[in-house]
Symmetry: C2
Subunit: 80 residues, 2 copies
C-alpha cells in the first residue's frame, strides 16, 4: 500500500524559507506571487494492506517522527 504524507507549517508560523523563495521568484521576474510556504512530502510504501490499520500506523509515524505537531500540520493520503 502506498501513502503520501504532507507536512506543512501551521498557519501563523513564520516560514523564512518560503519567504526567501518568494523573494527569489520576484527577483527572477515572476509577478503577482502573493505568498509561498514550503513543506515536506513523504512517499511511503507499506507492507500493511488494511487501509484502517495503515492509516493508524501513518498517523502514529507523523506524531512520533515525521511532524512536529506543535508547529506543523500533516495530512495522510492512501492509494492502492
Amino acid at each position: 500500500m502506498k501513502a503520501q504524507i504532507k507536512v506543512t507549517l501551521k498557519k501563523g508560523v513564520l516560514d523564512p524559507q518560503g519567504q526567501a523563495i518568494e523573494g527569489a521568484l520576484k527577483s527572477l521576474g515572476f509577478e503577482g506571487v502573493d505568498s509561498v510556504r514550503q513543506g515536506k512530502v513523504f512517499d511511503i510504501e507499506l507492507g500493511e494492506t488494511d487501509p484502517m490499520q495503515a492509516r493508524n500506523m501513518l498517523n502514529q509515524m507523523c506524531q512520533k517522527l515525521l511532524a512536529n505537531t506543535v508547529i506543523e500540520d500533516y495530512t495522510v493520503a492512501l492509494s492502492e
Copy 2:
C-alpha cells in the same frame, strides 16, 4: 489562485534522507515499511486568475528555481 507544487526525486536517484527516515521508523518499532522517499511541497498564492497563464508561470518557476529537473520531477496542482 492557489497552487501546490510537489517536487520529488526521480525514480532511481538515491535518497539518503528517505533512507535515514526509513531506518528511524524501523528503530521506533514500525514494521513493514518498504520504502520512504522525501520530497518538497510548495503552497503558492498567485494574483493571476487565468488557470492557463497560472499553470504556465508555475511550470516556469519549477524549471528556473524550484526543481532541479536533472534529478527531480515536479507536479503542479491548481485550486480555486
